[in-house]
Symmetry: none
Subunit: 226 residues, 2 copies
DNA sequence: AGATTTACTGAAAACCGTCTAAAAATGTTT
DNA sequence: AAACATTTTTAGACGGTTTTCAGTAAATCT
């Protein structure tokens, strides 16, 4: 789920910066400090994105990039370099790099590019969610159940969208409260029950099967069996 | 289980804010107000994460950080500072800090970073646990025994989850009470026996082998031999 | 073997979570 | 401003879960 990023950087200080910022942004990060290790790490870990330094001991970032592309690596590659001549840039892109960042650069910039590339490869979450006879369209904010449109309020929609985003996965009350209502904590309230009931009434009015199930003491799930 | 956090902060007001917020988030928090105490507290308590103020009486946070790293402290360190010059940031990260927060900051921000760092160090546990014919899915909160779904109550689930997290490891009654019930102490009660029995009945109804074994005088184990 | 400790069993009691319906509060449209 | 829709709160009923209790069985020790 969370994207895995491989960083090949021999400057320990810079490597540490990059690692901590990427990690903070929620990525799973692996750092190695030379080209050979980069090659094997890339092959075994199958990262979703690679960040390679131009200059590396053993094998240069460009060579590493070329060899990875030659052996079928498709994930986006961002090159880091101290030089900014066009010729170098051409060499890098020619070797198969997708992007090119010249030192010094800000972490914001790196993070922005990482996000952009990952978004491109990993198309954002689908706009259509489906489960059993349920279909939800995030763009039109419409929900259909067995080809019949079900009209929902905002909160009802957000709730079913959450459940539909991970069918069969049990969501705790706290998770629901946080995702749908944005509350971190909330002293006793049965707002969730009220909305689950509203949804059930609307869904089960024209469909015989219960889809939203109560997991007593925990929360709720979307699934097609009892 | 619950992460232990050491806070070294000499401003009593800020220290109190941090302590109460972290405690509310479920962490076990220790607060000291100077570098020397911080050093000894860090060595004796082995915290999972440290929050150090940049400016401290006696020993600065940077020095403290450097000395801790020099003596093998591996836990993530978050520095708090009023300055935000890049040079300081570099000095801090250079001393071995993992992160850096400039005052004033919101508690949400601090909590988010704390969570992020702890998540990195303590990689979350697997969602699927298996042993013998038993399979437990933490996301769907379902337990299968020999391809047959076993429906469990919350406490039953939590108990089998604990046993399943370390098959063949004997759990004492106290451990079970703490992990499943959250009780630290409890005058005589046979809740555990009652729940073990409930689990055995449900599991052994369709499976011939006893998986939960009693270790007399100690507690219980999950294993496939007597 | 008998005494003593420890665990198991079955059922009742207490407790708590969820459902339900309706009213109150809030927001939106006409 | 009135009418309507949505969101949130309130309160009681219901039922499953959790816990306690008392009696029985099994293991350990003398």
């Amino acid at each position: 789920m969370t994207a895995h990023i491989l960083v090949v950087e021999d400057d320990p200080k810079l490597a540490h910066f990059i690692e901590s910022d990427l990690t903070l942004d929620g990525y799973c990060v692996t750092v190695v400090d030379n080209g050979l290790d980069g090659l094997s790490a890339a092959r075994s870990a199958q990262p979703d994105l690679l960040i390679l330094d131009w200059m590396l001991p053993g094998m240069s970032g460009v060579d590493l990039c070329r060899r990875l592309r030659a052996t079928g690596m498709l994930s986006p590659i961002i090159m880091l370099t101290a030089k900014d001549e066009v010729s170098d840039r051409v060499v890098g892109l020619d070797a198969g790099a997708d992007d090119y960042l010249t030192k010094p650069f800000s972490m914001e910039e790196l993070l922005a590019r990482v996000r952009a590339h990952l978004r491109r490869v990993n198309p954002e979450e689908p706009n259509i969610l489906e489960f059993d006879a349920l279909t939800l369209n995030r763009l039109t904010r419409e929900v259909y159940l067995a080809d019949r449109r079900v009209s929902l309020t905002v909160k009802e929609f957000d709730l079913i969208e959450l459940l539909l985003s991970h069918p069969k996965q049990v969501f705790t009350r706290d998770q629901i409260l946080e995702k749908v209502w944005g509350y971190d904590f909330m002293g006793e309230s049965n707002i969730i029950e009220v909305y689950v009931r509203a949804l059930r009434i609307k869904l089960e009015a024209h469909y015989p099967l219960r889809l939203i199930h109560t997991i007593r003491g925990v929360g709720y799930v979307l699934r097609d069996y009892a």
